[in-house]
Amino acid sequence: MTNELDIFVGNTTLIDEDVYRLWLDGYSVSDAVARRVRSGILEQTGATAAVLQSDTMDHYRTFHMLERLLHAPPKLLHQLIFQIPPSRQALLIERYYAFDEAFVREVLGKKLSKGTKKDLDDISTKTGITLKSCRRQFDNFKRVFKVVEEMRGSLVDNIQQHFLLSDRLSRDYAAIVFFANNRFETGKKKLQYLSFGDFAFCAELMIQNWTLGAVGEAPTNPDSQVDDMDVDLDKEFLQDLKELKVLVADKDLLDLHKSLVCTALRGKLSVFSEMEANFKNLSRGLVNVAAKLIHNKDVRDLFVDLIEKFVEPCRSDHWPLNDVRLFLNQYSASVHSLDGFRHQTLWDRYMGTLRGCLLRLYHD
C-alpha cells in the first residue's frame, strides 16, 4: 500500500515556521523529516513518522508554489490563490530574503553573474550551507540588484517598496547592491576579519555621502536621471579628490598639518611618539587613497588600501581604538587651520565618511 497522492489544502494556507526554515535552509524532504524527528516532535504530538513525512511534503509543495510569488513580494499580497494573513505574508517574505552571514561574506562585492553562480558549489562546501540555500540567497541578491540597479531615489526605500522587507533587511540589501555595483574587494585574506556588518556600515556611510543621491537637495543637474542614484559613486567627487594630493605633496603644508595635530594631541595619546613618527606615512596613505579613487581598479581596492595604509600600521603599533579616534578627529579638523588649503568642503565630505569607516574597521 503506497500513497499515490496525498494533499491537504486549507482555505487559509497553513504555514509551519519550522518546516519553512528547513525548506529555506535547502534540506530535502527526507533530511527535513529526519531533523524534525530529532527535534522530538513525534513524542510531543504522538504522531508517526509517516504523518510527519506527509506533513513535510505538503508544506514543501506549498512553499514551492509560493516561491514564484516570493520572487515579487507585492504579488504575494495581491494574489488570490493562497489566503494568508498579512502577518504571515510578512514573515514569509522576510525569511525568504534573509541570508547567512557566512554566505554573504563570500559573495559581497562580487559581480552577481553566472560566473559567480558557478562558484556556489565551492561556497557551499566551504560554508556548510546547502547549495540550494546558497542558490536562493544568490538569486535573491541578484533579483534585488536587477530591480533597483537603474532606479532613481533612495536605494533603501526602493528595496523596501519593491520587496516589502523590513527596514533592517532593506539596509542590508542596499549594502549588498552597493558593493556588488562597485565591486569592492572583500575577499582578500587581510579582510577576512571583517564582518558583513562592518562593510554594511561603511556602505551606508558611503551611500549617504559619496554617491550622487547624497548630494540630495541641490543636485548639480536636476534633469539628469542617471545621476540621481544611490548605487554609483559621484564621479565628479572622485575627480575632485585629486586636489587633496596637495596635502602631502606640498612639504610645508604637510609639516604644518603634522605640527597642528601633534600640538593638539600631545599628552593625550598613549602612542604619541609612534603617531608622531608615523604621521607622514599615515597621512600620505589616506590622501593617496583619495587621489587614486578616480580609477575603478582603485575603488575596488578601497578596503584593501585602507587596511594596508592605515589599519595595519596602527595595529602593529598597538594603538588603542580611542587613540585612533582622537587622532582621526584631530587629523580631519586641523586641515581647517591650514591657510593655504582651499578644498575644505571636499576634505570634509571625504574624511567624514572615511573616519567613520576606519573606526569601524579598526578591530581585531
Binding site: 500500500m1 500513497n3 497522492l5 489544502v9 482555505n11 504522531a47 509543495r61 499580497l77 495581491h78 490563490i81
Partner: protein
C-alpha cells in the same frame, strides 16, 4: 424582453507573458452572453492592462438570464496568427436576479484556463436591470431564492415548508462526442464546463418553476449533483425543499433568532418534565430498511424490487393510523389526520433539511434507505451528435426530441427509489422523511442509485397555511416534551415493524423509546445529551469478480445486502464501544469499482439522555474447551471493557445512575398509566410482553468462531481516539461543546493509495482501507495541532475507486477552536447541575433517593435461553453474515429481521439522566479577543485581498449572517499534459484545489460577501495516466455566499447599519461604478 445585462471590463493584472520576444502581452477581452459577443480594445504591451471599457449591454430573456453564464475570455492579440486564449471567467449572474441578494457583481476574478490553471486576474463589473412582467406565461423563475444550507437560513423565518422538489436534466457528454477526437483538450474541457453551467442553470430554473407552482419563494437544502455516465451521457439532477420564507426585517429583530448555536442553545430552557403526553407512545429503533433492485435500463416496468416491499403502503398505513386513533385519543388522531392530509397531497413527503425550526420535528422513526443497481446503456444517435457539434452547441438541446426515453428512464429510476423510501417510512409509522439525500456511484456501465433519510413525524403547523386551528397548535406545543420528544417511537409498539427493545423514556418517563436511535439529521438543538459526541465510522471493502453488464450488476446486487449488514454491525459495535446510544448525520456511501465494492459510513455518536444506557460488548468463543483460547477471549474481553470505560471518560459520559434495587418502583407507575390508556382505548393488553423490569442487561455478543471474526474485533479496537484537545463529528454542532471561538479553518484533503495487486483478500483490503482513513485522520490532527483545543466539524469523507487498484478518499471539514477553560468550567458546573437536577428529579417525581453506582459495566453473559426466546432464527443469522457471498439475497429480509433481534440490548440498570449540555455562562472576553485579532488583520490588508471565510457549516462562530447573496455552484475541469513538471499528481491536485478555493472566494467577494457557508465539494473526480504524463480532474463545489458581521462588532455599533460594518473587500481601489 425582461432584462438588460450590463458588463464593464475594467482592468487586468498579473497576466502571463504571451509574447516571448517582448516578455509582454497584448491583451483584449471578449464578453459573451448567449449569442452576443462584445470585444474590448487591445491593450498593447502590458501585463497589467487597463481596458476601462464602455458598458456592454445585452438585452435578454429572463429565461436566458437564469440558464446562461456570462462568459469572459481574455486573449492575446496576434497580428499574424490566431489570437491565443489566456483564459476564461464564467460568472453566474443568478444572484443578481433576486431582489434581496446582490445588486452588483464587481471585483477581481482569477482568469482560468483548463490546461494552465489560473493566469492572472481580471476586474469586471456586472449589473442587471430587470423589468417586471407579471402577466406572461412564465418560463423563468426569477426571484426564487436557493440555499444550500439544510436548515432555515439564519435571517429568515419559515412561514410554510412546502416539501420536496426534484428535477433532472440529461445531455450527451461533450467528452464523448465524435468531435472530441479532433478538437483540443482545452476546447473539449471548455465545452464541458459550459454545458454543465448551462444545465445547472436550466435545472435551477425548472426547480424554481416548481416552487412557484407550490406557491413557495425559496428552495432550502438545495443539492445538485452530476452523474458522469460516460458514453451514455451526463445527468444533472437536483433535490431540495420548497419553502415560503420571510425575511426577518430589522437586524434587531433577528438578533436572538440568528445566533450561532452557542447562543441558541443557551436560550433553550432546561428541560422541565413535560406534561404527560396523551398520544401513543412508542420507541423507535435504528432500523434500516433496505431494498436492492436491479433492473437493466431497458426495462421500464417498475419492478417490485425488494423483498420487503410488502412492508409498504396500504397494510401498514391502515394499521398505523388505526392504532393511533385507538390509543392516542382524539387529540393525537387529529394531529395525525391533519399532518397526513397535509402530506398526502405530496407525492413524496421528503425534506432535505437536517435541522428544523423548534417544534417541527415531533418524532423520529429511524433511518430509511434504498439502493438500486442499474445498467447504463449507450445511446446510438449520430444525427443528434452532429447537431450538437455544430450550430447550436451553445444551447442546451431538448433531449426529448431525440431520445424520448432517456430522461424518463432516469426519472423512473429515482421515482422507484423514492417510492421505496416512502413505504419504508410508512412502515415505521412515519408520514415523512427528513434529512433526505440521494447519491449515485458509477463504474463503467453499472450505476448504484442510493437514497436515504430519516423517517419522522412532523408537526403540521409548518406544512400548511392556516389550516391548523390555533388551539390545537397551542396544545400541541404545550404537550410536546422538550429534549426527548423526538426520541419517542412514532410507530405502534404492538405492531412494531421490526423487533426492537423498548423502554420508557429516561427523560420524561412517559413515552416509549428505542434502545438505539440512528438518524441522518443533525442533533436537534434542544436534545438532552450527556457528555460529548464523536465521529464514528464503519469501513468495509468487498472483492468482486470482474464481470460484464448484467452479470456484473447481479453480482453487485447480491453483495449489497451483506455490505449494508456489516456496515451496520460495525456502526453498532463502535457505538457501544464509545458507550453511546444514538447516531446523527449518518451517511452510508457504497462505491462501486471494477473489482470491489467499498462501504463507508460516517456518523456522530451521541449519548441521548432519553435513551437507555447501552450494554457492553460480550465476546463468546466457539470452542470453550481450549484453555489458551479461553484465555485469549477473556483477554480480548478485558480490552474491550477497558476501551469502553476509557471512552466514557474521554467523552464525559457519566449519566446519573440509579441502582438496581430502585428500578422496581418507577417502572410500574408509568406502565400502569399506559395500561390505563390502553384500557380506555380498549386495546388488548400485551404490555407485559415488554419486560422492562428485569434487572439484567443483555450485552451485545460477538461470537468469535473464525479468523474473520477475530479480525473484526481487532479492527474495532484499532480505531485510535483523537489526541487530547481534539474532537470530531460530522454534524453541524458538536454535542457538548458550545463555546466556540472565532478561528475557523476549512480544508480539503485527498489521498489515493495503490493496492498491491497480489493476493488481495477482503481482510487485507479492509485493513488497507481502514489504515487509509485512520492515517488520514491522524494527519489532520497533526496538521491542525496549533488550533488545539479544537473540533473538526462536518467531517465529510468521500470514497471513490478511480481505477482497479486505486482507492481515493476525499475529506472536507472545518476545524473550529473553542475555549478550553470555559469548557472545563462548563463541564463542572454542568455536572453539578445535572447531578443536582437528577436528584431533585428523583426526589420530586420518583420519590426515591438517588444512588450512584460506580461500577458501570458488570459483564453479564448473554443468557442463551433469552436468545432462544427472542430470536429463534438468530442461529442462522450469524453464520449468514459470515458466509456472505454464498447466500441468496432474496432471503435477506428474513435474516435482516433476525440480526436486528440479535443486536438488541437490554439495560441492566435503569439509568436516569436529564443532563443537558447547555451553557448559561457567558464569557465575552475570549470571543472579543479573537475578533480583535481578526479585525486587526484587514487594516494592513489595504492593498491586499479581503479575507473570505469558507465553512461547510451553516453558521460562522461568533458572527451573525446578515445577508444571503445567492448560491455558489461551480464546476471546473483541469487537465495537464506535463504532470511531472507540475509536481506529479500531488502537485497537480494541490494546485487545482487551491485554485478552486481561490475562484470561490473571488466570486463571493465580487458579490460583496465575506464568507461561504454550507460549502460542499460534491465531486472530485481525478484521473491520471502517468505513462503519458497526463492527468485530469473535475471538481464541483457549492455553497451560500453570505455577509456576516462579528457579534462583537454588532454590539459596538448596534445602532449603525450592520452591513456598513462589514467591508473586508478591497476588491480594487481603481474600480469605478
Amino acid at each position: 424582453m425582461p432584462g438588460k445585462l450590463k458588463v464593464k471590463i475594467v482592468a487586468g493584472r498579473h497576466l502571463p507573458v504571451m509574447d516571448r520576444a517582448s516578455d509582454l502581452t497584448d491583451a483584449f477581452v471578449e464578453v459573451k452572453f448567449g449569442n452576443t459577443t462584445f470585444k474590448t480594445d487591445v491593450y498593447l504591451k502590458s501585463l497589467n492592462p487597463q481596458w476601462n471599457s464602455e458598458w456592454f449591454k445585452f438585452e435578454v430573456d429572463d429565461e436566458d438570464l437564469q440558464d446562461e453564464p456570462l462568459q469572459i475570455t481574455v486573449l492575446d492579440h496576434d497580428t499574424y496568427s490566431a489570437n491565443d486564449a489566456i483564459g476564461k471567467v464564467y460568472i453566474d449572474i443568478d444572484p443578481l436576479l433576486y431582489s434581496e441578494a446582490a445588486t452588483v457583481i464587481s471585483g477581481w476574478f482569477p482568469i482560468y484556463d483548463t490546461i494552465h490553471g489560473i493566469r492572472g486576474e481580471i476586474n469586471v463589473i456586472v449589473k442587471v436591470d430587470l423589468f417586471n412582467d407579471l402577466n406572461r406565461f412564465r418560463q423563468s423563475s426569477c426571484g426564487v431564492k436557493f440555499f444550500c444550507t439544510t436548515s432555515i437560513p439564519k435571517c429568515y423565518r419559515a412561514v410554510i415548508i412546502h416539501g420536496f422538489v426534484e428535477e433532472l436534466v440529461v445531455n450527451e457528454d461533450p467528452e464523448y462526442q465524435w468531435i472530441d477526437r479532433i478538437r483540443t483538450p482545452r476546447a473539449s474541457n471548455e465545452a464541458r464546463q459550459r454545458l454543465i453551467s448551462l444545465m445547472s442553470g436550466e435545472l435551477q430554473r425548472k426547480i424554481g418553476l416548481k416552487v412557484l407552482e407550490m406557491r413557495g419563494n425559496a428552495v432550502v437544502g438545495y443539492l445538485q449533483c452530476f452523474d458522469l455516465e460516460g458514453e451514455s451521457g451526463l445527468v444533472v439532477r437536483a433535490i431540495g425543499t420548497a419553502c415560503t420564507l420571510d425575511k426577518l426585517s430589522s437586524p434587531a429583530a433577528f438578533l436572538p433568532a440568528c445566533n450561532s448555536p452557542s447562543k441558541e442553545m443557551k436560550e433553550i430552557p432546561f428541560n422541565e418534565d413535560p406534561n404527560p403526553n396523551t398520544h401513543s407512545s412508542g420507541p423507535s429503533t435504528p432500523l434500516k430498511n433496505q431494498t436492492y433492485s436491479f433492473s437493466p435500463s431497458k426495462s421500464y416496468s417498475r419492478q417490485s424490487s425488494s423483498s420487503d416491499t410488502d412492508l409498504s403502503l396500504t397494510p401498514k398505513t391502515g394499521m398505523g393510523s388505526g392504532s393511533a386513533g385507538k390509543e392516542g385519543g382524539p387529540f393525537k388522531a387529529l394531529l395525525r389526520q391533519q399532518t397526513q392530509s397535509a402530506l398526502e397531497q405530496r407525492e413524496f413527503p421528503f425534506f432535505t433539511l437536517t435541522a428544523f425550526p423548534p417544534g417541527f420535528l415531533v418524532h423520529v422513526g429511524g433511518v430509511v434507505s434504498a439502493r438500486s443497481v442499474k445498467l447504463l446503456d449507450r445511446i446510438h444517435n449520430p444525427a443528434f451528435v452532429g447537431i450538437m457539434g455544430n450550430t447550436r452547441s451553445y444551447k442546451l438541446l431538448d433531449w426529448n426530441s431525440f431520445n424520448a426515453d432517456e430522461p424518463e428512464t432516469r426519472d423512473a429510476w429515482w421515482a422507484e427509489i423514492r417510492q421505496e423510501i416512502k413505504s419504508h417510512a410508512k412502515a415505521l409509522g412515519c408520514h415523512a422523511v427528513v434529512g433526505y439525500s440521494e447519491s449515485t456511484s458509477i463504474c463503467e456501465e453499472v450505476c448504484i442509485l442510493s437514497a436515504s433519510g430519516t423517517a419522522a413525524v412532523l408537526n403540521p403547523r409548518f406544512l400548511q397555511d392556516g389550516t391548523v386551528e390555533g388551539c390545537l397548535e397551542q396544545r400541541l406545543e404545550e404537550n410536546l416534551p422538550v429534549g426527548c420528544g423526538f426520541c419517542h417511537i412514532p410507530y405502534d409498539e404492538l405492531n412494531m415493524p421490526f423487533p426492537a427493545h423498548l423502554t420508557y423514556c429516561y427523560n420524561c418517563r412517559k413515552q416509549k423509546v428505542p434502545d438505539v436511535l440512528f438518524t441522518t439529521i443533525d442533533l436537534p438543538t434542544d436534545a438532552a445529551v450527556v457528555g460529548k459526541g464523536c465521529l464514528i465510522q464503519a469501513r468495509l471493502c468487498r472483492l468482486k469478480k470482474k464481470a460484464q453488464a448484467e452479470a456484473n450488476a447481479t453480482a453487485i446486487s447480491n453483495l449489497l445486502p451483506f455490505m449494508e449488514y456489516e456496515v451496520h454491525t460495525q456502526l453498532m459495535n463502535k457505538l457501544k464501544l464509545k458507550g453511546m446510544n444514538a447516531l446523527f448525520g449518518l451517511r452510508i456511501q457504497i462505491t462501486v469499482g471494477e473489482n470491489m465494492l467499498m462501504g463507508l459510513a460516517s456518523a456522530t455518536g451521541v449519548y441521548l439522555a432519553a435513551l437507555p444506557t447501552p450494554g457492553g460488548i460480550q465476546i463468546a468463543g466457539k470452542t470453550p474447551n481450549d484453555g489458551s483460547y479461553e484465555q485469549h477471549i477473556s483477554h480480548m474481553q478485558k480490552k474491550i471493557n477497558d476501551t469502553i470505560a476509557k471512552n466514557k471518560e474521554l467523552y464525559e459520559i457519566n449519566p446519573p445512575e440509579i441502582s438496581e434495587e430502585v428500578i422496581g418502583s418507577p417502572i410500574p407507575e408509568p406502565r400502569q398509566r399506559s395500561r390505563l390508556l390502553r384500557s380506555q382505548s380498549e386495546s388488548s393488553d400485551e404490555v407485559i410482553e415488554l419486560d422492562l423490569s428485569h434487572g439484567k442487561k443483555d450485552a451485545f455478543v460477538l461470537e468469535i468462531d473464525d479468523t474473520d471474526a477475530m479480525e473484526d474485533v481487532h479492527s474495532l479496537l484499532t480505531d485510535v481516539p483523537p489526541p487530547s484537545g481534539f474532537y470530531s463529528c460530522n454534524t453541524e454542532i458538536m454535542p457538548g461543546i458550545n463555546n466556540w471561538t472565532s478561528e475557523i479553518q476549512m480544508f480539503t484533503s485527498v489521498r489515493v493509495i495503490r493496492l498491491s495487486s497480489l493476493n488481495l483478500t477482503n481482510q487485507a483490503l479492509n485493513k488497507n482501507f481502514n489504515d487509509l482513513c485512520e492515517n488520514l485522520l491522524k494527519s489532520l490532527y497533526f496538521k491542525l495541532r496549533s488550533m488545539i483545543p479544537c473540533c473538526l466539524c462536518h467531517v465529510n469523507f468521500t470514497v471513490s475507486l478511480p481505477e482497479d487498484e486505486l482507492i481515493q478518499v476525499t475529506v472536507t471539514a472545518v476545524a473550529i477552536t473553542f475555549d478550553k477553560n470555559q469548557a472545563l468550567q462548563t463541564i463542572k458546573t454542568h455536572v453539578e447541575k445535572s447531578l443536582q437536577r437528577a436528584s431533585t428529579d428523583n426526589e420530586e417525581l420518583l420519590q426515591f433517593p438517588l444512588e450512584l453506582c460506580s461500577d458501570s459495566l458488570p459483564p453479564h453473559p448473554f443468557p442463551p435461553a433469552k436468545e432462544h426466546l427472542e430470536s429463534a432464527s438468530s442461529n442462522s443469522g450469524i453464520p449468514a453474515a459470515q458466509r456472505a457471498t454464498s447466500v441468496d439475497y432474496s432471503s435477506f429480509a428474513d435474516r435482516c429481521s433476525s440480526w436486528i433481534e440479535l443486536i438488541k440490548l437490554k439495560a441492566q440498570t435503569i439509568r436516569r439522566g436529564s443532563i443537558k449540555t447547555t451553557v448559561t455562562v457567558e464569557k465575552a472576553s475570549p470571543v472579543a479577543e479573537g475578533n480583535f485579532r481578526n479585525r486587526s488583520a484587514p487594516p494592513c490588508a489595504n492593498s491586499t485581498v479581503g479575507v473570505v471565510k469558507m465553512t461547510p457549516l451553516s453558521f460562522i462562530p461568533g458572527a451573525k449572517i446578515t445577508k444571503y447573496l445567492g448560491i455558489i455552484n461551480m464546476f471546473f475541469i483541469r487537465e495537464t499534459t506535463s504532470l511531472r513538471e507540475e509536481g506529479g499528481v500531488s502537485g497537480f491536485l494541490h494546485a487545482f484545489i487551491a485554485e478552486v478555493f481561490a475562484m470561490v472566494r473571488a466570486h463571493v467577494a465580487a458579490l460583496g460577501g465575506n464568507a461561504v457557508v454550507s460549502y460542499i465539494m460534491k465531486q472530485c473526480v481525478f484521473m491520471e495516466n502517468p505513462n503519458k504524463n497526463q492527468a485530469q480532474c473535475l471538481i464541483n463545489v457549492s455553497g451560500d455566499a453570505v455577509v456576516f458581521v462579528r457579534e462583537s462588532d454588532l454590539e459596538v455599533i448596534s445602532t449603525q447599519q450592520p452591513t456598513a460594518n462589514c467591508q473586508p473587500l478591497c476588491t480594487g481601489g481603481e474600480v469605478t461604478t
